[in-house]
Symmetry: C2
Subunit: 226 residues, 2 copies
């Protein structure tokens, strides 16, 4: 079924972080980014849903709450394909370390949680290469909710309100994020994700990540002074 | 490999026309539309690339000539999925005859002509049901060019200039449209398309199409006074 090209042949390296909102992954990848920069490495950081091409369309559609799960899924794939072609691949070719805050695992987890067929969505993303290393930030939906919604209600799509799981956005958030977490956990083995306990301290998570990244660089004969 | 649900279970009927630009298909489906309306039938006509949701994005991207074949392909799929969910399916459920000026065959032909993998694109569109009847308007690229480009140069994407087949837009048009025609011709058997010779007279094409449509309506026990 799966057709992912296991490994790209570019000079650079692709390192990703994954996990639901509030899992601390963005903080960690930003810290990693600064650290690699301070070591003089060629490194870029790229984010999910950042392609200019369709950012406005997605925003508009989300505001109107008018997307079906399928359309939603395809729209994110457009964004991903555009980012892959115009940001990630050229940087990898040029030998950069590319840090991706979310990669196609996000789509696989969310789309399937929204009821899209797992085989269909895997086939759709089969054009993308697998990263060289991916960290999955494991957090419970309850902890995630506490972190991101301390001062506000969860947003419509974030809470999966389109799924009609519950009329209460907090309850819906928990139910929907649990489905996403279930998908992520299944992918740990499927895609060799490195699990990070989101409840560990910022410092210890960063130390662990740097250690793993240095191993990866050494393995690929890329010099770094630690 | 293919996973198309051969037949939908809606009350209505889906009838499509396919073929490259200048094959006369739009004229024919408009004539069919008027005729069915004059017979008091519930009928709607829907066009390719007509979803408001992403029409602007596609236009903007085309203007900048910045799409890869893959992104192009996914962008059209978004449009198609949106049109399917919000126009075609509801109308079919309500028992309407839905006339589609281009359906997913257009994507299959164009995307593969642009170098996208045939299996990948068929898998992507596997969420869509097959139409009840599809007419393929067969025309040579030379006749097509004469019809649509009598007074202007072929447009960038229409001529497949992104494919770098030739620097001359007319030459490129012929080469690119030939690839599309090749894909369409392969689909005649694969999807049971009804071939129409584009060089036949407008009158005789319409007479043939009406005959076929009446047969289809009778077969589905939908009354029409001819």
């Amino acid at each position: 079924m799966l057709n992912f090209s296991k490994k790209h042949n570019y000079k650079g390296l692709l390192i990703c972080v994954e996990g639901i909102d509030g899992s601390g992954k963005s903080t960690q990848i930003e810290l990693l980014h600064s650290w690699l920069q301070s070591k003089g490495m060629d490194v870029i950081l790229t984010q999910w849903n950042s392609s200019e091409l369709i950012a406005n369309t997605t925003k508009k559609a989300k505001k109107k709450n008018l997307l079906s799960g399928r359309t939603f899924s395809l729209l994110h794939a457009v964004d991903f394909a555009d980012r892959l072609e115009r940001t990630i691949k050229p940087a990898l070719k040029a030998g950069f370390i590319v840090l991706a805050d979310r990669y196609f695992y996000t789509a696989l987890a969310r789309d399937v949680a929204r009821g899209v067929d797992p085989t269909w969505v895997r086939n759709m993303y089969s054009f993308a290469m697998e990263p060289d290393m991916t960290f999955y930030f494991d957090v419970s939906s309850k902890d995630s909710l506490e972190r991101i919604c301390a001062n506000r209600e969860p947003k419509y799509y974030e809470a999966g309100m389109d799924m009609k799981l519950s009329n209460n956005p907090y309850k819906s958030y928990i139910l929907f994020q649990n489905r996403i977490i279930e998908q992520y956990r299944q992918m740990i083995d499927e895609f060799d994700l490195i699990r990070i306990d989101a409840l560990d301290s910022i410092h210890s998570k960063q130390a662990f990540i740097r250690e793993k990244v240095v191993e990866l660089l050494n393995k690929n004969k890329i010099k770094i002074e630690v």
